[in-house]
């Protein structure tokens, strides 16, 4: 299903079942209006979220990825979110080198009772992604201008072109 043209961007959410998915439910029960872009994938624990899922989403053209788990100390599985925090923080710091704006990825903690907070998170993140616009796509060929630029670099001398 293609992203709804012009109105939405593809935003993927990974939420732990016990806190954040519950928080999203709580927001729903309270009828807290939210942007519709986000599609939530439910996992048992933020510790189940492989940073590679996030990269896979970007590989597939996601404009933004949002992860949310239980607040530290509140993990249903005692420690899962501590591992998640380390993994996700490193991913966040890694992204710039790939050329994916790290602002396109965010992770946070929302408890099952924090409906208003969830609404706020969704709204803030969605607004941020809309400001950034659609993500660059790996599947799209390089533009002519880009090709010419790379060729120019080659002609300037051998080398990987990472130094300019």
């Amino acid at each position: 299903m293609p992203v709804y043209d012009g109105k939405e961007l593809r935003i993927v959410g990974f939420l732990c079942n016990w806190c954040s998915y519950g928080g999203a439910d709580t927001a729903g029960v309270a009828r807290f209006h939210q942007a519709t872009d986000l599609r939530i994938i439910r996992v048992p624990c933020s510790g189940r979220i492989d940073p590679l899922f996030i990269l896979k989403a970007f590989q597939g053209g996601a404009a933004g990825v949002l992860v949310s788990g239980c607040h530290p100390r509140d993990c249903h599985y005692a420690e899962g979110n501590y591992y998640a925090r380390r993994r996700l923080e490193l991913l966040k710091r890694f992204l710039p080198v790939t050329g994916i704006d790290p602002e396109r990825f965010e992770y946070t903690w929302v408890s099952a009772s924090e409906g208003p907070r969830w609404q706020h998170v969704v709204q803030t993140f969605t607004d941020r992604i809309h400001k950034l616009g659609p993500a660059p796509l790996l599947s799209e060929p390089l533009t002519d201008a880009e090709m010419v630029e790379f060729q120019r670099q080659v002609e300037a001398g051998r080398g990987c072109g990472c130094h300019i």
């Binding site: 896979k56 923080e89 490193l90």
Partner: protein, 319 residues
């Protein structure tokens, strides 16, 4: 690297108790060294050390788990041995480490940039800081510092960090301490879009030969790498930009907090894709967040295998 004779003597001494010792010998031309697997005293004669000995021989250790192996390591290589020990991927009882001191090894890609084709090199000599490359009747004199591996440029571990036998005298090297390689900050001069396009361009060249993976001393999954499976199906076998990119992402992620920056992935890449940029960025994060460097102390716990309830350098983002 110094102490070839001392090293040979030591190998002669320990070889009877070992199945083999891994070192280097001259390869098919004057420019290439190649790993040498010493099994007999006669093999020892073929041993060389020096700036051509680029290969990180620790890569072979996990595959020789059931053998008693001697391995010759430079400072950088020794970090891979430490990381392997740290992760209990090799058994220290089965490994005898012959530590060297090193003043840098050659980067053939950079040499190629200097002198064009490397296809017909007859001989290479190192005289102090000069590298003398003989191609037929041509002579190229090049400053060694300009054709060293990146990792050698700001090396702070010239001496093996772990060893059973140290060969030669350890050298001091204090300049450039902790400096991050220039390439990363250079790369940051590009916009996000330029960086993204850069990788698309680089990945279009990748032939998915997995040399980067198989040359990596930390890629111990080898035959069980997720890059080739359908369960889980992380990647298709299609050799295209998106899938090649994803493979490199998997490689980086699986090296998080484990990469010792030996540079073997980039060296092994037949297509000269600058993979170390990715490694350096990840290692920068690891350093900043956990004040951690892989392969320094076998007692350290890799950062992703543990946690702190209150992380020192991770702050909750404001919403």
């Amino acid at each position: 690297m110094k102490g070839l004779e001392e090293l040979k003597d030591k190998i002669h001494e320990i070889l009877p108790d070992l199945d083999l010792v891994i070192g280097w010998e001259q390869g098919y031309d004057g420019l290439h060294a190649t790993p040498l697997f010493i099994k007999t005293p006669e093999d020892v004669d073929r041993l060389i050390i020096g700036p051509l000995c680029v290969h990180n021989l620790a890569t072979y250790l996990p595959g020789l788990k059931d053998k008693k192996v001697g391995v010759i390591v430079k400072g950088c290589d020794s970090r891979a041995v430490i990381e392997l020990l740290q992760e209990k991927l090799i058994n220290k009882d089965n490994v005898v480490i012959l530590g060297l001191t090193c003043d840098g090894v050659i980067n053939l890609t950079k040499l190629g940039r200097k002198i064009g084709s490397l296809g017909a090199v007859d001989d290479v000599k190192v005289e102090g800081e000069k590298l003398n490359v003989v191609i037929g009747d041509q002579q190229h004199n090049i400053a060694f510092s300009e054709v060293k591996q990146d990792k050698c440029e700001n090396c702070i571990y010239p001496n093996a960090l772990v060893f059973d036998h140290f060969i030669g005298e350890p050298v001091d090297r204090v300049e450039n301490v902790g400096a991050e390689h220039q390439s990363l900050s250079d790369f940051e001069g590009k916009s996000f879009d330029q960086r993204f396009a850069f990788w698309k361009h680089e990945m279009s060249r990748c032939i998915r030969c997995h040399a980067c993976r198989n040359a990596c001393p930390m890629c111990v999954c080898r035959d069980h790498c997720v890059a080739m499976t359908r369960n889980p199906h992380w990647l298709s076998q299609e050799n295209n930009v998106a899938e090649n990119w994803m493979f490199q992402m998997i490689h980086v992620m699986h090296l998080t907090g484990r990469c010792v920056e030996c540079g073997e992935c980039e060296r092994a890449c037949p297509m000269d894709i600058p993979l170390m940029l990715l490694r350096r960025q990840m290692n920068r994060g690891v350093r900043e967040v956990f004040d951690y460097e892989a392969g320094i102390d076998a007692q350290n716990r890799p950062p992703l295998l543990t946690f702190k309830v209150e992380e020192d350098n991770i702050s909750e983002r404001e919403w």
